[in-house]
């Protein structure tokens, strides 16, 4: 695993020097400049609205960054034949895949931290102008942003798996977007089927829905936004559950990615 670090810094360099990433950062900066303006459109609950806007902006920006960087990672190096020279060095393919993953993951977390920090500034500015009845619960805000970051790192592992199997942008891009939407809806569908309505559908269908529920990721686990927006109390149990779920699911995806890339022929 000694070469893991080489691939890590290589991927960080690749992303930092990417023109698209530069343009994207400019867009992000503009979005955060616009949030105070939009918050003021609402006459009541300006603080709640600003928190909602910040959290949504962070979520959406991380989603785009994750999908674009994850879906264009491994296959592109293969198609551009960089791997022909890179994997002729005494490195293993696992190091290559895991180094790439960690670099993008670290950048996701770093962007989340930066955007979280900017959000704090924006929200503070707004509450100074329009004081609300309930003070902002900064800890909840921190937890909500962290959970979001975990969610996207997990999504990254899924995009990476698709990317190791693909020879073009389309499969990993559309597959991970589909998984993302399915993963956001899965909890609702499951609750619906598990409830009263479930007794009216055939047993087999119920079992299939249950299986699918356990295979596709459940992103609802990472949703702690409501607690942040309305400063509601947070209990530790869901947080621990989210962390555990993240570790298991991401771990499995990474193992599958390494396995799939190990089997790939580099012609």
């Amino acid at each position: 695993m000694g070469n893991f670090h080489c691939f890590y810094s290589l991927t960080v360099k690749a992303l930092i020097r990417d023109r698209l990433v530069h343009i994207f950062s400019l867009v992000v900066a503009t979005v955060f400049l616009l949030i105070p303006v939009f918050s003021m459109f609402s006459m009541r609950q300006v603080q709640e609205l600003s928190i909602t806007l910040c959290l949504s902006a962070i979520s959406f920006i991380l989603l785009i960054f994750t999908i674009l960087s994850g879906a264009s990672s491994v296959w592109r190096d293969v198609e551009k034949r960089y791997t022909a020279s890179i994997l002729g060095l005494p490195v293993s393919r696992a190091e290559f895949v895991l180094g790439k993953f960690s670099a993008i993951a670290v950048l996701i977390v770093a962007s989340a931290i930066i955007m979280g920090f900017v959000s704090c500034l924006v929200i503070t500015l707004i509450t100074l102008r329009y004081p609300a009845d309930i003070p902002v619960n900064w800890l909840n805000l921190f937890v909500a942003v962290s959970a979001d970051a975990l969610k996207y790192v997990m999504l990254l592992s899924i995009a990476l798996l698709f990317s190791t199997m693909s020879t073009s942008f389309f499969l990993p891009f559309f597959a991970s977007i589909s998984v993302y939407f399915a993963g956001n809806a899965s909890q609702e569908v499951f609750d619906y089927v598990a409830g009263e309505y479930g007794t009216t559908i055939p047993f087999l269908s119920r079992m299939i829905i249950k299986c699918v529920y356990y295979v596709i990721p459940n992103f609802a686990v990472f949703n702690m936004k409501v607690q942040a927006i309305y400063a509601l109390p947070l209990t530790p149990a869901p947080i621990f559950y989210a962390i555990l779920y993240f570790i298991c699911y991401t771990g499995i995806m990474l193992c599958l990615s390494v396995w799939s890339f190990n089997r790939r022929e580099l012609v």
Partner: protein, 292 residues
């Protein structure tokens, strides 16, 4: 233990619409430590397929390869190897020097060693002026030179080069031949593929000829050139009058005996031989006939 050992290697590609291509069939050869081995074959013969298998990039359908006794499937087998892939391509956003740094790190060289070695190989391949420019702006020949530079960076014992002269200008070709000769003097082993017969004659100790995925011949270059002698061109002068004679190989002794009894003087004897190219074309056309 040989530097490189390839044992009954076969590779079948599954192409589009399940069309199968037998790129390699039962190929066995060994490259001995300290020799320069040329791997000669026409386009599509299977040279690159062999080399990719040796470097662990594709899995053979049957057979196996080992480098200094270690199976080619292990990444550590490549520690003593400098590899130049066919038409290499390197991360475009890095500069040449940064790429060399990356390569050095994967061989666990320390920073001062990497700096020193980078300087050395960049100078050797005449790339110093471009070392701090992004690879994106390199010409084809410059990329090829960088490919050779990164293969030499960690001073490996075995070089595996897939068409090292491709894309280079005549100066570059001459330089690479010079480098190969120097590496041989240092006791390094070199295995390289090419379809240019003249290069083989100049630098190789042994040559393997591959056509349609089969190894057709393996021999020393010396033997091949010797066996290709068809006759001798002899220049004799008689009473100040010079003439050229062509004498068949088996008639030479007889001819010389006759010559001694006459008053002619031998000015020059030159073997007339088929060169490597003729030998190569012979083998490839034989394989074509046998296939028909």
């Amino acid at each position: 233990m040989h530097a490189l050992e390839i044992v009954t290697l076969s590779k079948r590609y599954l192409g589009k619409r399940l069309k199968r291509v037998d790129a390699l069939q039962d190929l066995s050869l060994e490259v001995r430590t300290g020799e320069v081995f040329g791997f000669l074959g026409p386009n599509g013969a299977g040279k690159s397929t062999t080399i990719k298998t040796v470097m662990g990039q594709i899995k053979p359908t049957a057979g196996h390869a080992s480098i200094f006794g270690r199976p080619a499937t292990e990444s550590s087998s490549r520690l003593r190897v400098g590899y130049l892939p066919e038409n290499p391509s390197f991360y475009e956003f890095l500069t040449g020097r940064e790429y060399l740094h990356f390569v050095g790190k994967t061989f666990s060289l320390n920073n001062s060693m990497i700096t020193e070695q980078s300087e050395h190989v960049l100078e050797l391949l005449e790339l110093t002026h471009a070392a701090d420019r992004p690879i994106k702006g390199y010409s084809k020949g410059m990329v090829q030179r960088l490919g050779l530079a990164q293969a030499m960076l960690h001073d490996p014992d075995l070089y595996v080069l897939d068409e090292p002269m491709s894309g280079l200008d005549p100066l570059g070709r001459a330089l690479v031949k010079e480098i190969i000769k120097n590496l041989k003097k240092q006791g390094k082993t070199i295995f390289f593929s090419t379809h240019i017969t003249a290069d083989i004659e100049v630098v190789c100790d042994r040559v393997g000829i591959i056509a349609k995925g089969r190894l057709m011949a393996v021999d020393t270059v010396e033997n091949i050139l010797q066996s290709g002698v068809e006759g001798y061109q002899i220049q004799v002068s008689r009473h100040g009058h010079v003439e050229e004679l062509l004498v068949a190989k088996d008639r030479l002794k007889e001819f010389m005996a006759e010559l001694v009894t006459s008053d002619a003087v031998v000015e020059r004897i030159e073997p007339k031989r088929k060169d490597m190219e003729a030998f190569f074309l012979d083998i490839v056309s034989k394989e074509k006939h046998s296939a028909q």
